[in-house]
């Protein structure tokens, strides 16, 4: 996915974004710096994903390290059919599940019930308490850092499987096919989990920002 980024404008002082493919080539040739760049690029996302499988940061860090080692050892087998990120995430999910802190089979696919509280609709199914406006608030009047903090907190409170799907789809921007591959779930399950996770994030934003005088 790294290779899809637009080229940086000339005179930009930031280091050039080498594609993952280029870095892999250098890594295979024994370039330690290439490994460090790949770690900087992907490690935090991996750690965050690992944290939704295991209960402590220490264990999550171990899982991530195991993943890097497994990736290095499997470097020769990586054929680039998926993106490097998807491949790393797949290894990580396997490792995290076998670490077994959270038994994946016992985690329900979705919690029951509608995503918007039934009390907000009338007997005819039409909105009785319609969505409060907050988009302009989020775009114009609220500090982006504060909003990110709020979303991070809500993300952390989502059931693990919902969090994993939202992280991979909406934060990491993987395709739905890649998310299904990484988490070994069906497209339909992926959509259910995404639906519930996103709905909770929306509700949190409404609760936080809605009802402001317009």
């Amino acid at each position: 996915m790294g290779d899809l980024r637009p080229p940086r404008p000339e005179g930009d002082t930031l280091p050039t974004m080498d594609s993952d493919e280029e870095l892999l080539r250098r890594l295979r040739a024994g370039d330690e710096r290439a490994f460090v760049i790949l770690v900087e690029r992907h490690n935090s996302a991996m750690l965050r994903l690992a944290l939704s499988f295991v209960s402590s940061r220490a264990v999550a860090e171990e899982v991530v390290q195991d993943t890097w080692l497994a990736a290095l050892r499997g470097l020769a087998r990586f054929e680039g059919r998926s993106s490097l990120k998807t491949w790393l995430f797949s290894i990580l999910v396997n490792r995290a599940r076998t670490t077994g802190v959270r038994e994946s089979r016992s985690v329900p696919i979705a919690d029951a019930g509608p995503v918007v509280d039934a009390s907000r609709f009338g007997p005819d199914g039409a909105w009785a308490v319609p969505p409060e406006h907050w988009i302009e608030e989020a775009e114009d009047r609220v500090d982006a850092v504060k909003l990110s903090e709020l979303l991070r907190i809500v993300l952390d409170t989502l059931p693990a499987r919902q969090r994993e799907v939202v992280l991979l789809r909406d934060v990491e921007e993987l395709t739905s096919a890649d998310v299904c591959q990484v988490l070994a779930i069906s497209e339909a399950n992926q959509r259910v989990l995404l639906h519930r996770g996103r709905a909770k994030l929306r509700q949190a934003l409404e609760s936080e920002l809605g009802g402001a005088p317009r």
């Binding site: 460090v36 390290q65 509608p114 979303l151 994030l201």
Partner: protein, 97 residues
């Protein structure tokens, strides 16, 4: 009026197999809609509802905004400890041959 009725009835009968969606159903279909996972018929039903319902249109816009804001989250920076651990790991792997 009398002449209108039979036509209206006929019209609503021909659509009676597919009742209009209500808001409470629409909010449950929003993700399938955004993921392009609805059948063409359901997609049309949903879009028909949206065209006449400002609240559901707002809900959909908020869902898009939620996705946009979530996409702005950036991973926390790597701690120096983790960076050095991983560099050690690399050297270990190199030593494996």
């Amino acid at each position: 009026m009398k002449t209108w009725f039979p036509r209206l009835r006929a019209r609503s009968l021909s659509f009676s197999r597919v009742p209009d969606l209500v808001c409470q159903q629409v909010v449950e279909l929003v993700t399938d809609y955004l993921e392009d996972a609805l059948s063409p018929a359901d997609r049309r039903r949903l879009e028909k509802h949206l065209s006449g319902c400002p609240h559901c249109t707002e809900y959909l816009a908020q869902m898009r905004e939620t996705i946009r804001l979530t996409g702005r989250l950036t991973p926390e920076d790597l701690t120096p400890e983790m960076r050095s651990d991983l560099t050690d790991l690399y050297r270990l792997w190199r030593a494996e041959g």
